[in-house]
Symmetry: C2
Subunit: 594 residues, 2 copies
Amino acid sequence: MSYQAPVNDIRFVLNELAGLSEVAALPGYEDANPELVDAILEEAAKLAQDVVAPLNSVGDRHGNRLDNGTVTTAPGFKEAYRQFCENGWIGLRVPTEHGGQGMPALVAMATEEMWCAANVAFSLCPLLTLGAIEALDHHASPEMKALYLPRMASGEWPGTMNLTEPQAGSDLAQVRTRAVPVGDGSYKISGQKIFITWGEHDMADNIVHLVLARLPDAPAGVKGISLFVVPKFLVDTEGRLGQRNDVRCVSLEHKLGIHGSPTCVMSYGDEGGAIGYLVGEPNRGLAYMFTMMNHARLGVGVEGMAISERAYQQAVSYARDRVQSRELGSDDPAPAPIIRHPDVRRMLMTMRAQIEAQRALTYYTGAALDRAACHPDRAEQQRWQAVVNFLIPVVKGWNTEQVNEVTSLGVQIHGGMGFIEETGAAQHLRDARITAIYEGTTGIQAMDLVGRKTASEQGATAYALLGEAEATAAKLEAAGYPEMAAPLHRAIADAKACVKFIVESFNDNPKAVAAGSVPFLKIMGLVLGGWQMGRAVLVAKQKLHEVDADQSFLQAKLITARFFAQHLLPQVSGLAEAVLQGSDSVLALDEAAF
Amino acid sequence: MSYQAPVNDIRFVLNELAGLSEVAALPGYEDANPELVDAILEEAAKLAQDVVAPLNSVGDRHGNRLDNGTVTTAPGFKEAYRQFCENGWIGLRVPTEHGGQGMPALVAMATEEMWCAANVAFSLCPLLTLGAIEALDHHASPEMKALYLPRMASGEWPGTMNLTEPQAGSDLAQVRTRAVPVGDGSYKISGQKIFITWGEHDMADNIVHLVLARLPDAPAGVKGISLFVVPKFLVDTEGRLGQRNDVRCVSLEHKLGIHGSPTCVMSYGDEGGAIGYLVGEPNRGLAYMFTMMNHARLGVGVEGMAISERAYQQAVSYARDRVQSRELGSDDPAPAPIIRHPDVRRMLMTMRAQIEAQRALTYYTGAALDRAACHPDRAEQQRWQAVVNFLIPVVKGWNTEQVNEVTSLGVQIHGGMGFIEETGAAQHLRDARITAIYEGTTGIQAMDLVGRKTASEQGATAYALLGEAEATAAKLEAAGYPEMAAPLHRAIADAKACVKFIVESFNDNPKAVAAGSVPFLKIMGLVLGGWQMGRAVLVAKQKLHEVDADQSFLQAKLITARFFAQHLLPQVSGLAEAVLQGSDSVLALDEAAF
């Protein structure tokens, strides 16, 4: 099933909801003019649709093969990656001084949505490279940056992130990989890392591994972890490749989904130690990793939303084509396309409404990231940084929890065919399932949200965002949309009650707050998504009166927002009851009684 | 990961909630005394745990192989099936005159839960055989019954159901397979059937296909479909196997899950016509199929609940073993088993509470089936039949929708390991996904529920069941459980409002009702599941005072019911809003705008 990049929807969100023109007015982003952005969207759409998307099922079927430490990717991946790099896509949001194009995160996000929707397994290689670039850009020495960053930004040397070890999943305090100084400024790294995405492959000449490890005298726990660069092939100061480093892929995981992406067990130092180079100062590795956490988590939020879009497109196409059973209440006894059956419509609308709300909130967060990074006014920078910090766990958690539901609805719409792998609907369900797990599970996002992002600032940002949502609800009311305003108002009131509970209870009873943290995260996703849908309604109402208005497009925005208000926002009251009343029953059962 | 049959929970539901002693008092079920039932549970548990469950992952990994029309099952399946048959498990609820043991459906259900939880792919072979037995028992001639039923009840000749064709999925009016009379009383069958579970395999000497086909002069649509028996090997009147019939498996589907079960494309009559025998009268095939629909749909509801149980057990085991991150609010800095983390508990409780409610409602329905079949009082029979008719789509739809969530939570609890196939958590998610599709999708169950089961009887049974739930809520209040009574009362009120809306609107505006039919189905699952949880609380409170009470077991019932009331029942209000307010927004979008 082919993919059509939803360029109109993306443009609407960029321009009308995320504030692209304001972002483009920030110092440093002056090049992001409407013409260039349009050209970027059109070119990215073409590459995504014509080159990357057709490889999605190929990657799923073929997976990757490991022979003697060498990973062979699925047919076509290598060529697509070459074209992807030649067109300069990896460096789109990398600063120009490192060979990138210096575009805002917001603009890059639009292209990243397309790569993820087209082929999420493929998209992980550039995504992880960008994460590695960001970490090095912030913390590496000028020499290290000059050596590595341009080659990474071009895609010549993709990057990887080596954090997880068997005993250290979410809890990096347990990292054991060791780094011993050699004496010449380099280190010998030894240890095993698991779940290393694109840890080894044949798409590039070299791979730049970023590795968390402990120095011999490092303190225990998270304060004793340092960050190292470990290239697959050693390089000289001119970037010429030298000998193979002592790091290899010892096995590939057999996964539920994203088969096109090799998930490697990486062994460092089997033959005495892999040569690594310290990034920044010793024992600051975890802090450095956090630098890129926001981008990485937002990136996974994009994945969730993008896979949902892909599943939606496939489901719509099937629902139009598949003819089965007569239309309810129709005089025509002939079987009808199933898109006419109300429950199929309900499923499609459930998918569609969540995707639109998620896209709006995700791009809003992307724009906030740019404003936080570049706003000339320091107070505005800080304000936007707080917004970013609050929204990241919401976007990451909500988009990725919901993609499980959305892709499952995609399967359901296909009926029995949805269960057959060749149909492709099941692949989206399988691929999506990792997104709520990696880069911090939903539980971890939710703890971040209730703790650092809500309780520790007395709910300031939460209340501020809910206040903006309230203003939108009031405007909806005034604009003649009480059927949307009322559910939004009610949901906001519930959300505020939850924020109050969290702020008041977190210090004395953190377990009670934690017990409702994921329901709270979903509440914030729904309410803030509903806020964005309300904003879209106000824009659409305005634009409907313009001479060249796309009536069908704008009417669809109104209807989809109404569905969101009447079918999805009402879930908030039940979730709020779980947050406010439900912690005892979460915690009461004796551990042995499970 | 091993499976432990939850015999204590099953016994509690059988005895305290489903009314086993009353069922055993019905004429014909006198043998179902407590000692025999206990022995059945213990023996079934042993076989499920020791023989059937270990093959679950084997079947998933190996799948089935098709060579020249012959299907080879995964290693161990053939031997397990032989043992299963030798122990007489298929015939447990088959009438004694056909070689079965004549147990109530309720007792058989307890064993069926175990087979499904142990290995759902394996369990489908006996399940479909039972469906075929039931259809023949009701509609075949005495000679046909005498020839086939004892051999099917013993498992010597398992049965299959051949309904679906490529153009006729949910809509059997489109069936095209043809049956031409030969002149000797037999027919030549030709056509292609798809999605035939266990359509061909090497576990038995013969296979009895039940096939829907059209006679030459048959009217169009569902009134022109007849039912035929088509054995894989022709048999003489003594049951001796003769020549191979003209039916073969031409391909196996490559599926998301239940890999252990061969899903076949069956071709009839490639060499002139497969010999088939008409069951009952011509053109009554669909009505005959409906005879076994209730059992089959209830059976799939059992599958959903059983796979949830299996996923829960695996998640609990992992959550106890996996040590990661310190306990919140604890002074101990050492990492703790993740079962101590509140969000992991919330997920486990969400799984557990739904499983308990589903088991109770499912077994209640099984008992109702027995009462409807055997109650000596005709009015009581009719009353119970109405209960069965109402509850079947609820149990089928709700259990199977929720197993998607429950198995997904099972994956989530495993973190990154959940995405690795060897862990086994992902298999449950994949296996479960078909249950909301086959034997009628959730959308079809929901239409059945709002139409034939609610609107057409002015909500009589719905109101009666909600009335019983109300009485339970009142008792909970009186017994000192207002925190459970209040959410149940509120949910019942919402459910009643929905029933009223459905009854009033169905004739004039069936699309509006259909748009909210699945949310309504979920409401009934939650409310009636909550009713059963309330009944369990009242029993547990009583039993806690008994001398030899299992305090831990009974306290767990109270806590789990409280969780259900505080976390799951509150979802009803949002769903009710979708039913009552949401139909316009489901239907409003122009078909071309999707």
